[in-house]
């Protein structure tokens, strides 16, 4: 091989490493970079909703194909919310919580030297990296990125003439998603094997941190739920290129011209998609729930109340998450009997979730708390989980869903429960394990300020969306004020956008804190939090400081 020795060792140590800790950090940094992209897309979307005729000036110069003399094109708006959702759900939150924390911590928390299959682990990261590049590359495609929503419902996503994004952009989306699923599957089986087979013999399952438990359930959910989107992606690619009609019904007319072929069922895609899609929501939730419980244990100085029932609740939530997907299709015309069945499962999944909330209160009640930054984020998750869980119960009832389905209410709901709880989980984990990763502490003062601002502006952004939804504001619209009855909502939408801008600005504090602490943070010592889980107490699990 050519190249000098030092660059080789740098490559093998930090780039093509097989060490689970390096791979975990690779996931974290990649996800952090993609979060900037996903966040920027969201801001542009928000500006458009609040001021539809806005001249985007500088932004339009950066992405000329999406704008017409500074004003956004409607098809580009659709591409923006599609890519925002896809990138944030899969490439940022799943990757950070599971690829990042999971890879770094599972071996440490179960007392293993590394993952069961280190090569597979590295492969899984690199497939993820390639799939993110493919997903991002669609921004330079002339017809633009996929624009059929992160749910990619056909026929919109199947017919090239239905929307510009359904050309090459949609193919790149499908290929990137299929690769992401392969990466996630490889990671999942690695997690499962590591937790079950490489656990220290003297460590019983009932002694594991709840974060590790959450990773076990996440791995199972991923392995069993994700393949259905692989199947659907292959079928949609065949529909788009090989002349099949799995999802394209008979007798379509697109802008006056008959569509050849047909006979398929678009609703079949929805079933396959949501069979993945709903467990994916819990894939994002469970790690945060696990982290919250573990942090409550550490910072109240006592094991979380009802540890055993916390594990059972996670198991029930995971199991039931396979039975609720139909609630995304209540208004699709599904049989009322089926609708009722899905309403029952959807509503009852709130029972184990309620148990978690009550147990958390019992853990915190009358205890001296150490309000460190990670603990603040965990308390924030408690609040988000309650707020978002309650609006979930609304949407789980079929008659209420008739009115609120596909409105801003749903957008507010899932940003609070799924996106919010997962994002707060990322922050909780980053602050908590930062000393383990880098041997230094993050600034508590900056951390507290960042938390308080994020907490306030997160709710200021997403809570009013419930009100807009109740007033009938439909989602994914480029210009809501085409409707007379939505015109009075402009000031509310402007408020939401300003709150979102403030939320974005508050994140600057985090980046300052993160990178400053990386170089200048106070040395943490081996045991900064007085935590008892193995990643802190086992001598060989001390960070080398990457």
């Amino acid at each position: 091989m050519s190249g000098n020795a030092s660059s080789q060792s740098f490559l093998s140590r930090y780039v093509f490493s097989l060490d689970h800790r390096v791979i975990g950090l690779q996931y974290l940094f990649t996800a952090m970079a993609l979060a900037l992209v996903g966040g920027l897309l969201a801001l542009i979307v928000r500006i458009q909703i609040a001021w539809p005729d806005h001249d985007f000036g500088l932004i339009s110069a950066l992405l000329p194909q999406g704008f017409d003399e500074g004003v956004m094109k409607p098809e580009f708006y659709a591409a923006l919310f599609t890519m925002h959702g896809t990138i944030m759900i899969f490439f940022v939150l799943s990757a950070a919580l599971i690829g990042g924390f999971g890879n770094y911590l599972i071996p440490l928390q179960v007392g293993a030297k590394d993952m069961a299959f280190p090569r597979l682990n590295a492969l899984s990261y690199w497939i993820y990296a390639v799939s993110s590049v493919i997903m991002l590359s669609s921004f330079v495609v002339p017809s633009g990125p996929a624009a059929s929503g992160w749910t990619a419902y056909p026929p919109l996503s199947a017919l090239k003439g239905a929307i510009p994004g359904s050309n090459l952009g949609q193919d790149l989306w499908l290929v990137a998603m299929a690769l992401f699923i392969v990466s996630f599957t490889l990671g999942g089986l690695n997690f499962l094997a590591t937790i079950l087979a490489l656990r220290k013999p003297e460590l019983s399952m009932m002694d594991l941190p709840l974060f590790t438990w959450s990773m076990l359930f996440v791995a199972i959910l991923g392995l069993l739920a994700f393949p259905s989107l692989t199947a659907a992606s292959v079928m949609l690619l065949l529909d788009r290129h090989a002349g099949t009609s799995f999802f394209i019904p008979m007798g379509l007319v697109l802008s006056g011209d008959p569509v050849p072929g047909g006979g398929g069922s678009p609703i079949l895609w929805q079933h396959l998609f949501w069979f993945l899609g709903h467990p994916e929501v819990y894939i994002l939730m469970l790690p945060s729930l696990g982290i919250t419980s573990d942090l409550f244990t550490v910072f109240t100085g006592r094991r979380v109340f009802g540890y055993r029932s916390m594990v059972i609740a996670m198991a029930l939530i995971s199991g039931m998450s396979f039975l609720v997907w139909g609630h995304h299709m209540f208004v699709s015309g599904m049989s009322p009997f089926l609708g009722s069945a899905f309403a029952v499962t959807t509503t009852l999944i709130a029972v184990p979730s309620g148990v978690k909330v009550f147990n958390w209160i019992a853990t915190l009640w009358n205890r001296p708390l150490q309000l460190t930054t990670p603990m603040l984020w965990a308390l924030g998750i408690f609040s988000l989980f309650v707020t978002g869980g309650l609006s979930g119960i609304w949407l789980g009832q079929t008659q209420i869903d008739i009115q609120l389905h596909d409105t801003a209410f749903v957008v507010g709901h899932f940003h609070i429960i799924m996106a919010g709880a997962a994002l707060f989980g990322v922050f909780a984990g980053l602050h908590y394990w930062f000393p383990l990763f880098f041997g230094r502490l993050m600034s508590e003062r900056l951390g507290a300020a960042h938390f308080l601002l994020t907490f306030v502006f997160y709710y200021a952004t997403f809570f009013p969306m419930h009100l807009a939804g109740l007033r009938g504001q439909v989602r994914r619209v480029y210009d809501p004020y085409q409707y007379e009855y939505l015109k009075p909502l402009q000031s509310m939408n402007a408020f939401i956008t300003w709150a979102a801008v403030a939320l974005a600005l508050a994140q600057i504090l985090f980046f300052i804190n993160f990178f400053w602490s990386l170089k200048r943070g106070a040395p943490s010592g081996a045991h900064p939090w007085a935590a008892e889980s193995l990643e802190w107490t086992e001598p060989e699990s001390l960070a080398e400081g990457v």
């Binding site: 659709a78 209160i361 009358n366 309650l390 009115q403 109740l470």
Partner: protein, 271 residues
Amino acid sequence: MTEDAPRNGGQLARVFALLTAAFAAWAAYALATSSMPPLAADRGRIDSAIELNLIVSGVVFLGAHLALVLVLLRRPREARIPRENIRVEMLWTALTAAILVALLVNSEIDARALAGGDEGADAPKPVVVEVVAQQFAWNFRLPGEDGIFGRTDPRLVDQAELNFIGLDKKDPASEDDILLPQGLLILPAGREIKVRLRSLDVIHSFFVASFRVKRDAMPGLQGEFTFTPTTPGSFELACAEHCGLGHYRMRGLIEVVPEAEWAGKVKEATQ
């Protein structure tokens, strides 16, 4: 590090508690005073269900956030809370389940009532309307005197001839079909409306916020649902499912008129 961390009862805790209390109070107030577009159809059950849920979830929401505020503000005293107490856990599991089951039963009763269908033989026949969605417009058709919709065929669609739904004019049943102008539907107040919903191209969704009605228009399938508009006036029909670049402007108008004026208004609109 952990020794000098801020404690509950301290300054940071007070700031956090204040923000939490302010948010919870604002959220509860905003939701309790929030409004929906004025109800103009016989579907008040949905409004009642939302009110019921608002009360139930409001209590839980305020309770949980009150607990959080108290946890933050109170200086802890010596308490004897065990690590586990199966009886207490069973109690709150059962309580949660009982509330949820009650909500579910209510939802099921509402769903059945809203689905409608079997009012008995003596009820007046519903007015049948065919709604055909396309990128990015709504087509409305009434069957006319004979009560039968004429045949349609996608191959006959001719936008230049304004035959958007591909009506077969050779079919005798299509002679008296009434094609309303695109985007305008005129309905009689107080009569039950039966909508036959389909789509020509991609998935759309028929949403009238004031009627509390929403149903996806699935290409290849025909959906059917009923509602009764109660108040004369004009109401906006929105597309609720992302259907392409013109999704935002796929707007329709529904004019509800007193039943006596209905036939005249329809005639006026089609001339």
